[in-house]
Amino acid sequence: MINLFEARETNKMISEENLDVRTITMGISLLDCIDSKLDKVNVKVYDKITTMARNLVQTGEDISREFGIPVVNKRISVTPIALVGGAACKSPEDFVSLARTLDRAAKEVGVNFIGGYSALVSKGMTKADENLIRSIPAAMAETERVCSSVNVGSTKTGINMDAVKLMGEIVKQTAENTREQDSLGCAKLVIFCNAPDDNPFMAGAFHGVTEADAIINVGVSGPGVVKHALTKVRGKDFEVLCETIKKTSFKVTRVGQLVAQEASRRLGVPFGIVDLSLAPTPAIGDSVAEILEEIGLESVGAPGTTAALALLNDQVKKGGVMASSYVGGLSGAFIPVSEDQGMIDAVNAGALTLEKLEAMTCVCSVGLDMIAIPGDTKPTTISGIIADEMAIGMINQKTTAVRLIPVIGKGVGETVEFGGLLGYAPVMPVNQFSCDAFVNRTGRIPAPVHSFKN
């Protein structure tokens, strides 16, 4: 039987160390909503989402109450809309009407985000893919809860540089279209390499075509729990450090597994995966940067940061994989700048730069995340940053992503406020040298030699 000490430990993690289940995400396939008539697609999409997910929010709240664990977000991911709307949408405007439908459906069932306004173009773009991508700036400006992602590369296919170039322009245009809200639209747009089909985290979640009709994926969190555990092993060697992270990660992930099983059973939808990611929030004590500092850095960004992050990421996975029957999604440590108070402090102190963040993305999930850059950054420069990040993912056979916010009207040193879980961020400087001639070449970067494994 459970003893007093164990019960106390669990409840302390919840009440004092910000342990929570970050998201229950229901993946819903919309492939059966395809139709050549746009109004029919809109009706089918709305009906399917509101039927499948009608009990999602209530179930999340019931589980939260009965087990005494906060379930912060309830969300939905859907089949990439470029595939669903391909037959009906003849223009970017047609796709925007689907975005509005997704937004309406999300509000009806009460989820705070719906992901899957996406196109998968790692090798080439169909006309529908291109129309969807060109509709993103309008869709992000007109909707509130819709999240968009575009996969522009993979280890197997190489990098679609035409799409990379286009996305630089789209990110900039999205920023322009939402300039009244500090370019918030860009916070809902992610560019991926090796995007996973079962990611429960926004803004990059979509329901892959290899998935079942509906599925429950759960993302756990708990940077605060790991940080707290590490305060007890200060000065100890790496073996003790790694053991501590592993054991803590195991405990945190078990909670995710429990919630995933319960949600799956109650909703009558199969359990997909638990995503082991350490996801920070702007709350004090819920920071990945603070873990790195507890490992022994004066500030995140100092020499040693990449090694410390590599170690953290690996131990989190080692502890987590045993705790869950199916692990998937992104599963690693997130390093979003605006959503992590420790990262924000490091940027303000001059300890953390865009280049160091890029190095850090080589050893963790996911990428350059929630980084505010000056609003006058050229689209080709944004494309260049995207290309660099995609190359890291392609060569290292991992998921990488870019979520940059060129804040229109703001420059280096100013602060941008997104609110809520998205937090706030100082605008970071970008290398001013041009990559125009590189980005303006057309075509794609071939797949690396180590992808030919057959």
């Binding site: 007093l4 109450r65 087990f67 429990l258």
Partner: protein, 90 residues
Amino acid sequence: MKKTIITVVGKDTVGIIAKVCAYLAENQVNIEDISQTIVKGYFNMMMITDASRSEKDQGVMAEELEKLGEEIGVSIRCQHEDIFNMMHRI
């Protein structure tokens, strides 16, 4: 039958156990085990209970106990045992 774990944490005062037990008795909840300790003036208690005969939903009970805790000045949580089993037992 799955158990419900009730934990009480807070500054020690007269009558904490009495008030919690009175509530549980009113609601047909059977207490199977109690362990309790005081650390630096802080009261820590855990009860393993069987709430299968209670007419109240566990979620409702959790909310009512939380309110009762606020009245006494302690924190009371009422949770399904599985969250602890999952975390601490392989």
